[in-house]
């Protein structure tokens, strides 16, 4: 059972959040924007007013309570992971039979055809991949070329199995003499398939259980994919090294990274992890936007398994999306990797028409660092100390005047 599958498992994880303390670099990453975001919204401590009782200011916790209540009523983090439930349109005497007809067509005609297509595609793929993988052991360059072509083929079959209508904009990714890395916003694992059908990328992913894991160990391994475990905080350093090695190697496949680190619902984009931006190479941003009218492609990994997600896509009419390959960016001389990440995130958000949020996607799995609470506590403590000091200086003044 994957960690993301059941809600109960996740809440257990939250209870053990001390095990998953964020590393310093992760805290730095979101603190940069978070501080501005929070300090702007934090209630200003009451200015010391001569006629206002200290007790009044002390007991007035209305500002802090309102912030908490506001978070309970609505918060921008939970909104990032809200699945869009389509409005039912079959509420009418003649729309209902039309919808029923649509269901029959989708489940009884389209679905079997798609399953057939997928099966045939897989037979062809495995029939070609397995022999090539073993026979051409010695001729690496040739083998890789064929394997890349085959992976692009099977991804096209997948896309066809959901009737994927993908419009690609911008120059296609190509190998250049300069070292480069591709970054994209993340909505579902199908992002990878959609980009992969155009170019066989090597990708950095979390290891999954089940049949996906099997695919990861065999096919994706041959592409040069890199694995990580998001619950291991030490893992970050090891993975960073692997990324660097991969980018430098001229024989390796183009590398694709999803810096959000988790699937977000394609309306919002969460903070980017800076790992992809400190590799000393060009970053090529890719923006993906799904058209919700046809199907909501957001994979809520807590609510459904990937298999269920794929089945849902295969029983929908189509998956329509736009992919924009944006202008490659390099880090500017006075820019930190975090600022660079923000700049690229801004580009992708603008192009895809999605809203930026100052939260770290990993907050899905652990609680926020106490540093941010401490900042608020510090502000309050200082205002109280100021009141103490003015009070004592007032008293000195009045006693000296007597």
């Amino acid at each position: 059972m994957g960690i993301q599958r059941t809600g109960v498992k996740v809440s257990n994880q939250l209870r053990d959040s001390s095990l998953f303390r964020p590393s310093q670099s992760e805290v730095d990453l979101y603190q940069h924007d978070m501080e501005d975001f929070l300090l702007d919204s934090a209630a200003e401590p009451a200015a010391p007013h001569q006629n206002k009782l200290l007790l009044c200011d002390l007991l007035d916790i209305s500002g802090v309570l309102s912030e908490a209540a506001s978070a309970i009523v609505d918060d921008s983090f939970t909104r990032c992971f809200k699945s869009n439930i389509p409005e039912p349109w079959n509420w009418n005497i003649y729309l209902l039979p039309l919808w029923c007809l649509g269901v029959i067509v989708r489940y009884c005609i389209l679905f079997p055809v798609r399953v057939l297509l997928l099966t045939v595609g897989w037979i062809i793929f495995l029939g070609a991949f397995i022999p090539v993988h073993f026979i051409l052991r010695k001729h690496d360059h040739m083998r890789r070329k064929i394997e890349r072509g085959l992976v692009e083929f099977i991804c096209s079959v997948f896309v066809a199995s959901w009737t994927g209508v993908v419009k690609y904009h911008g120059p296609r990714p190509s190998r250049r003499p300069r070292q480069q890395v591709f970054v994209a916003n993340h909505t579902s694992m199908i992002d990878f398939i959609i980009l992969e059908q155009m170019t066989a990328f090597a990708v950095i992913m979390q290891k999954h259980p089940g049949w996906v894991g099997l695919l990861q160990n065999t096919v994706l391994e041959s592409l040069g994919c890199i694995w990580f475990n998001r619950t291991e905080s030490k893992d970050r350093h090891v993975v960073g090294e692997k990324l660097r090695k991969h980018v430098i190697d001229p024989e390796s496949n183009l590398l694709l990274i999803f810096p959000e680190g988790t699937c977000v619902n394609n309306e919002y984009i969460v903070m980017f992890k800076k790992g992809a931006f400190e590799l000393d190479c060009t970053v090529c941003p890719v923006a993906i936007k799904y058209n919700k009218i046809f199907v909501d492609a957001f994979w809520n990994s807590r609510k459904q398994s990937f298999t269920m997600h794929l089945l849902r896509l295969m029983t929908s009419w189509a998956v329509v999306c736009d992919v924009w390959y944006l202008e490659p960016q390099t880090i500017r001389p006075n820019e930190t990797p975090i600022e660079f990440a923000e700049r690229v995130r801004d580009m992708i958000a603008k192009r895809a028409g999605i809203k930026k949020v100052a939260w770290d996607g990993y907050l899905k799995y652990y609680r926020p660092s106490s540093k941010l609470t401490e900042k608020m506590q510090q502000k309050f403590a200082e205002s109280m100390l100021r009141r103490l000091r003015t009070k004592t200086s007032d008293e000195d003044l009045s006693t000296s005047m007597e």
């Binding site: 007790l55 009523v73 926020p368 506590q377």
Partner: protein, 175 residues
């Protein structure tokens, strides 16, 4: 979660509305119900501590633990009643009752000096020493005319905070 507003009948909405004394509009109650269902991930009918703490903005709040004591495990009707203190339409009395409830952790109708110290501890964290905190509380009580060992009642609270500029309004998003 399916289409959640269809799980609330008109009767339910009116019952909840009269329970919170008509402070929230029916649209706001529907919106709060959708939010309640999102927070209550397993559909039990009440929200657990972990589910509240999964909202990072809430988990960051210094008074989160105190609010959890009040909000945890309540059903939707109570949830709406508790949050009604934050509506712009709530009266001063309702807001005061909520603030008093946060301070009065044992619910006996009296707020002791240690209750006030406790809230101050949450608000200031490690940035004030225990001695400084006691100093602030004693000085504040003294200035207002209370002796340091006394217990404040709800009426005392009202007397002190009537001059305060309470910033206690939260807007419920309605689509």
């Amino acid at each position: 979660m399916g289409n959640t507003s269809s799980m609330l009948t008109q009767y339910d909405i009116e019952e909840v509305q009269s329970h919170c004394k008509g402070i929230f509009s029916q649209r706001e109650i529907i919106s709060l119900y959708e939010r309640f269902c999102i927070l209550d991930r397993s559909g039990k009918g009440f929200i657990l501590e972990d589910e509240f703490m999964a909202v990072p903005e809430f988990a960051l709040n210094p008074l989160a633990q105190r609010l959890l004591r009040i909000l945890e495990g309540v059903n939707f009707k109570e949830f709406v009643l508790l949050l009604s203190a934050f509506s712009p339409r709530a009266s001063f009395k309702e807001k005061m009752e909520f603030i008093f409830k946060v301070y009065d952790s044992d619910g006996d109708g009296k707020v002791t000096t240690s209750d006030i110290l406790g809230v101050l501890r949450d608000l200031s964290g490690s940035f004030l020493t225990e001695k400084q905190r006691e100093q602030v509380v004693i000085q504040a009580l003294d200035q207002a005319g209370f002796s340091s060992g006394c217990m404040l009642t709800y009426e005392d609270f009202v007397k002190v905070l009537v001059k305060a500029n309470l910033k206690m309004e939260v807007e419920v998003p309605v689509d």
